[in-house]
C-alpha cells in the first residue's frame, strides 16, 4: 500500500483559517496525514495547538505536529499528544525532534545546549516514557461501578516509575489511554543520531534522500535495526521526504530536476517539475520497493499542495496506485498499523 503525506507549514501564518484550508485540501486528496513543523527558535505558532484547532474542522486526515523533547516536560508532552488524539478521535501523531542550539537553551535558561547524540538519546527516553504513560491507564480502567461506588478500577492504573538520565516520572498519566492506544510517532531518520531512535520507537520514519537506491539502503538499515530491537520491521513505515516545487506544472520536468529525480538543496531533496512526473517518480520508487510512501513538503504551500492533490494524487488514483477513500477512521488505520497492546495489561498496579 502506498502512503502519502504532506507538510502544511506556512511561513508567518498566524490565523487558523489558512491551516484549516490546507488540511482540508490534503484530506480531499485522501492523504494519510499532514505534518506541521515547530521549533522554539523561529517565528511560528505552537504546532500542536494549530493542529488541535484543525481537528474539529476536518474528519479523517492524520494530524502530526512536531513537538520537541529537549526543553519540554515529558509529562506535559505526552498529555498534550494524547489529548490531540482525543479531540481528533484517533488521528494524532507526534513528530519528535530535539533542540540543539544554545539560542533555544537561552529561551528556557535551565540547561546549556548539548550534542545531538545526547539529545536524541533523551528523545528516546521521552518516547519511551510517553508510551508507558499512554499505557498507564488500561483501556477499561473506567468502570463507573455503582454497586461498589467506584468510578475507576485502580488495579488498571499504573505508576510508570521511569528514571531517565535527565528526568524521572512517577505516573500514571492524568489522561486516559488515547483512542489509538499510542498516537503515531514520526521521526526524521536522515541523520545518523536519530536513526536508532527511529528504529526503536517510530511508527513512521522519514528519510531525506535524492535517489531510490539511497532511500532503499536507509530503509533496509532501519528495518534491520528495528528487528534487532525486537520489533516487527513491517510495523515501521519508511517515507521518502521531498520538497516539491510544482510551479512548472505544465512543462515536463527538466533533466536533473524532476525528470532525473530530485536534487540536493539546503532545504533538503528538492523535486522540481510537473505533477505528472512527480506521480511517475512516486510510482517508480514505490514500485521498486524502495519506500512505503512519501512525505511531501510543498515549496509554495497553497499552490503546490493544490497541484499535488488535484494532479499527482488524482493520477495515482486513476492508475489504481493510491486509494480513493479512507477505509478506516484513525491514523493507524490509514497507515495499516495495529493498535498497540497495553504493556501493563493484566499486571496489578
Amino acid at each position: 500500500m502506498l502512503h502519502l503525506s504532506a507538510a502544511v507549514d506556512q511561513p508567518s501564518a498566524y490565523d487558523a483559517g489558512s491551516y484549516v484550508e490546507l488540511a482540508r485540501l490534503a484530506e480531499h486528496g485522501v492523504l494519510d496525514f499532514v505534518t506541521l513543523d515547530d521549533t522554539f527558535a523561529r517565528p511560528g505558532l505552537d504546532a500542536l495547538a494549530v493542529l488541535s484547532r484543525v481537528a474539529p474542522a476536518t474528519g479523517r486526515i492524520g494530524l502530526v505536529p512536531t513537538v520537541t523533547t529537549t526543553h519540554t516536560e515529558p509529562f506535559h508532552v505526552q498529555a498534550a499528544v494524547a489529548t490531540l488524539d482525543w479531540v481528533s478521535r484517533g488521528r494524532a501523531g507526534w513528530r519528535l525532534d530535539v533542540s540543539t542550539t544554545e539560542g533555544e537553551a537561552r529561551l528556557f535558561g535551565r540547561r546549556h545546549a548539548a550534542p545531538a547524540e545526547a539529545l536524541w538519546r533523551e528523545a528516546g527516553e521521552v518516547a519511551d516514557v510517553a508510551a508507558k504513560l499512554w499505557d498507564s491507564w488500561e483501556d477499561d480502567a473506567e468502570i463507573r461501578d455503582e454497586p461498589t461506588g467506584r468510578f475507576i478500577d485502580r488495579d488498571k492504573l499504573h505508576h510508570v516509575d521511569f528514571h531517565g538520565t535527565e528526568f524521572s516520572v512517577r505516573g500514571p498519566s492524568i489522561v486516559p489511554r488515547p483512542p489509538q492506544g499510542h498516537p503515531v510517532r514520526v521521526v526524521d531518520a536522515s541523520e545518523g543520531q536519530a536513526r536508532d531512535i527511529a528504529a526503536r520507537y517510530a511508527d513512521v520514519a522519514l528519510v531525506r534522500s535524492v535517489s531510490a537506491a539511497q532511500t532503499r539502503a536507509v530503509r533496509d538499515q532501519l528495518r534491520a535495526a528495528a528487528a534487532r530491537f525486537g520489533r516487527d520491521p513491517d510495523a515501521l513505515r519508511v517515507l521518502a521526504a521531498l520538497v516539491v516545487d510544482l510551479g512548472d506544472g505544465e512543462h515536463a520536468a527538466e533533466p536533473g530536476h524532476g525528470g532525473g529525480g530530485p536534487r540536493q538543496t539546503a532545504q533538503g531533496p528538492l523535486y522540481r517539475g510537473g505533477p505528472v512526473d512527480l506521480a511517475d517518480l512516486i510510482a517508480s520508487w514505490h514500485g521498486e520497493g524502495a519506500v512505503d510512501g512519501f512525505h511531501l513538503t510543498p515549496a509554495e504551500p497553497r499552490r503546490d499542495l493544490e497541484r499535488l492533490v488535484n494532479g499527482t494524487v488524482a493520477l495515482l488514483q486513476h492508475r489504481g496506485l493510491f486509494r480513493t477513500f479512507y477505509p478506516g477512521s484513525t491514523l493507524r488505520e490509514h497507515l495499516g498499523l495495529a493498535r498497540p497492546v497495553n504493556q501493563y495489561a493484566g499486571e496489578a498496579s
Binding site: 498566524y14 490565523d15 487558523a16 484549516v20 522554539f40 527558535a41 523561529r42 517565528p43 511560528g44 505558532l45 505552537d46 500542536l48 495547538a49 494549530v50 488541535s52 484547532r53 484543525v54 481537528a55 474539529p56 526543553h71 519540554t72 516536560e73 515529558p74 509529562f75 506535559h76 498529555a79 498534550a80 494524547a82 489529548t83 490531540l84 482525543w86 479531540v87 481528533s88 478521535r89 539560542g103 533555544e104 537561552r106 529561551l107 528556557f108 535558561g109 535551565r110 491507564w137 473506567e142 463507573r144 461506588g149 467506584r150 468510578f151 475507576i152 478500577d153 485502580r154 492504573l157 528526568f167 524521572s168 516520572v169 512517577r170 500514571p172 492524568i174 489522561v175 486516559p176 498496579s349
Partner: protein
C-alpha cells in the same frame, strides 16, 4: 444617595471535571474525556452568551492511603489542547485554561497561550495556580523542591515574564529581542509569536490565602474564589478590591467570580428536594468516610457513615491524602463538625453533606435569577463561575430558564458586543510596554 446603574453580571462555565461535584452515576452522565462532551458544554455556554468556559487542572492523580483514589471522576485531557479544539466550534466564548506556574516555564507557556489567543481570535485566558507539592513534582523535571513561600513569588515573576514576552513584539508586528533576569528566571532571545489579538491573554487567579489575594490585586484580571455566601462574599470582595489602589488599579480592572452551583425546580420545594438528592449522590457513604479521613488523618474505615462522628481528635499533620490542597486547622474543623452534628443530630454522612459543598443557589428560575442579581448588585461578586454537577448537559437548564430572566432584569447581555474575552468582561486593552 445617587442611584448607580445596574451592574452587569459576568457568567462563566466550569467543565465538571475531576472531583465529587460530578454525579457520574446519573443516567444522563456522559464521558468527561470525549471531545463531544466539551463541545456540548461549550456550545451551551455560548448559546447562553457566557463570558468564558473554564477548565481546571490536576497534574497527578489523587492518592488516598497510598492508593489511587477511585470514588470520584478521574482522568482529564490537557486543557490548552482541548481549548484550541473548542476554538473551532465556538465563535465568541472565552477559553480559560488552568495551568500551574510551578511546573511550567515562561517561554513555552507564554507561547502556548499567545497561540491560543491567535487561533481563537482573542479569547484566551490563563488561570494561574501555584501548587508546589513534592507529590506533584514527582512527575516533572524540576521535581518538588519549591518552598511553599516561593510559589507566589515564582508565579508573580512568571506572569510578569510572560507579559514581557507578549510585549516583545510591537503592535505593528516587529519582533524585538527580550531578556529577563530575576530570582526565578534568567532567559533571553526572541519570542516566536506576534502580539496576539488581546495583547495579553486574560489572567485569572484562584487561591484564597492572603498571599493569593495580594497576587490577584497586583496582577490578575479575574479572581476565581470559593467565597460565595452573601456576607462572606461581600467581605472578600471589599478586601480584594481594597488592595487594588496601591497597584494603581481601579475596581473595574479586576472581576471577582465565585464558583457556585445552581439547582432549579418548578417550585422552591422541588428545587430543595433535587438539591438534597444531588448532595447525597455527591457524597456516597464511602466518600463521607474518606472526607473524614482527610481531616482526621487516620483510618476511619471501621466507622459507620450513618453513625456519629469519632470522639478521637485528628492527628496534627494529616497525610492520608495526597494531591489535594488541604485548608485550615484540622482540629478546628473537627470541632466545628462535631458541634454541627450534635446540634442537628447528624450522622457522619449528613454532617459531611451539611458542612461541605460549595455555595449553591437553589430555587425556581425566578428566585435564582433574583438572588444572583442581588449578590452582584450588593458587591458580593461581579459574576459567577457555574459549576454544574452533570457532564455535559449540566448547563442546559440554566441557559434555557435563568439567562432569559437575567436579560429581562437588564443585568445580562442579549448579544455579544465585541469579539474578545476582554471586551466581554469589560476589561481594557493592556497598555503596550515596549
Amino acid at each position: 444617595m445617587t442611584e448607580r446603574p445596574l451592574k452587569q453580571i459576568r457568567l462563566a462555565a466550569h467543565f465538571p471535571g475531576v472531583n465529587n461535584t460530578t454525579v457520574w452515576a446519573d443516567p444522563r452522565s456522559r464521558s468527561q474525556i470525549e471531545f463531544s462532551s466539551f463541545e456540548h458544554l461549550a456550545r451551551t455556554a455560548e448559546r447562553g452568551l457566557f463570558d468564558f468556559f473554564f477548565l481546571a487542572e490536576g497534574l497527578r492523580l489523587r492518592e488516598h492511603k497510598g492508593r489511587i483514589h477511585d470514588l470520584d471522576v478521574v482522568g482529564r485531557p490537557e486543557s490548552i489542547t482541548v481549548l484550541n479544539a473548542l476554538a473551532a466550534v465556538t465563535e465568541h466564548l472565552g477559553l480559560a485554561a488552568t495551568v500551574n506556574a510551578t511546573f511550567n516555564e515562561p517561554y513555552e507557556l507564554a507561547r502556548r497561550l499567545a497561540t491560543l489567543d491567535h487561533l481563537s481570535g482573542g479569547r484566551a485566558a490563563w488561570n494561574v495556580v501555584t501548587s508546589s507539592d513534592a507529590f506533584t513534582g514527582e512527575n516533572f523535571r524540576r521535581g518538588g523542591f519549591l518552598d511553599r513561600a516561593d510559589r507566589y513569588t515564582r508565579a508573580a515573576e512568571f506572569v510578569a515574564t510572560a507579559r514581557e514576552l507578549w510585549d516583545s513584539w510591537t503592535p505593528d508586528g516587529l519582533s524585538r529581542p527580550f531578556a529577563h533576569r530575576g530570582q526565578h528566571f534568567d532567559i533571553a532571545g526572541e519570542f516566536t509569536v506576534p502580539r496576539s489579538p488581546q495583547g495579553h491573554p486574560v489572567v485569572i487567579q484562584a487561591g484564597d490565602s492572603d498571599e493569593g489575594r495580594e497576587f490577584a490585586a497586583a496582577t490578575a484580571d479575574v479572581v476565581f474564589t470559593r467565597q460565595a455566601s452573601l456576607e462572606g462574599g461581600r467581605a472578600f470582595y471589599a478586601d480584594v478590591k481594597g488592595r487594588l489602589a496601591k497597584y494603581g488599579r481601579t475596581v473595574e480592572d479586576l472581576k471577582i467570580m465565585p464558583g457556585v452551583g445552581v439547582v432549579l425546580g418548578d417550585t422552591a420545594a422541588e428545587a430543595q428536594e433535587r438539591a438534597a438528592e444531588i448532595r447525597r449522590q455527591q457524597t456516597s457513604p464511602q466518600t463521607a468516610i474518606l472526607t473524614l479521613e482527610q481531616i482526621w488523618g487516620v483510618d476511619l474505615s471501621s466507622y459507620d457513615p450513618d453513625g456519629p462522628l469519632p470522639d478521637i481528635d485528628p492527628v496534627a499533620e494529616p497525610t492520608l491524602t495526597e494531591g489535594r490542597t488541604r485548608r485550615g486547622n484540622t482540629l478546628e474543623i473537627a470541632e466545628r463538625w462535631r458541634a454541627l452534628s450534635r446540634e442537628k443530630g447528624l450522622s457522619i454522612r449528613e454532617t459531611v453533606i451539611e458542612a461541605g459543598g460549595r455555595q449553591s443557589f437553589v430555587g425556581t428560575p425566578q428566585a435564582v435569577a433574583a438572588e444572583l442579581d442581588e449578590f452582584v448588585q450588593r458587591d458580593a461578586a461581579d459574576g459567577f463561575i457555574l459549576v454544574p454537577h452533570l457532564t455535559p448537559a449540566g448547563l442546559d437548564e440554566f441557559v434555557d430558564r435563568v439567562v432569559p430572566l437575567l436579560q429581562e432584569r437588564g443585568v445580562f447581555r442579549t448579544e455579544y458586543k465585541g469579539t474578545t474575552l476582554r471586551s466581554h468582561l469589560g476589561l481594557s486593552e493592556p497598555v503596550w510596554k515596549g
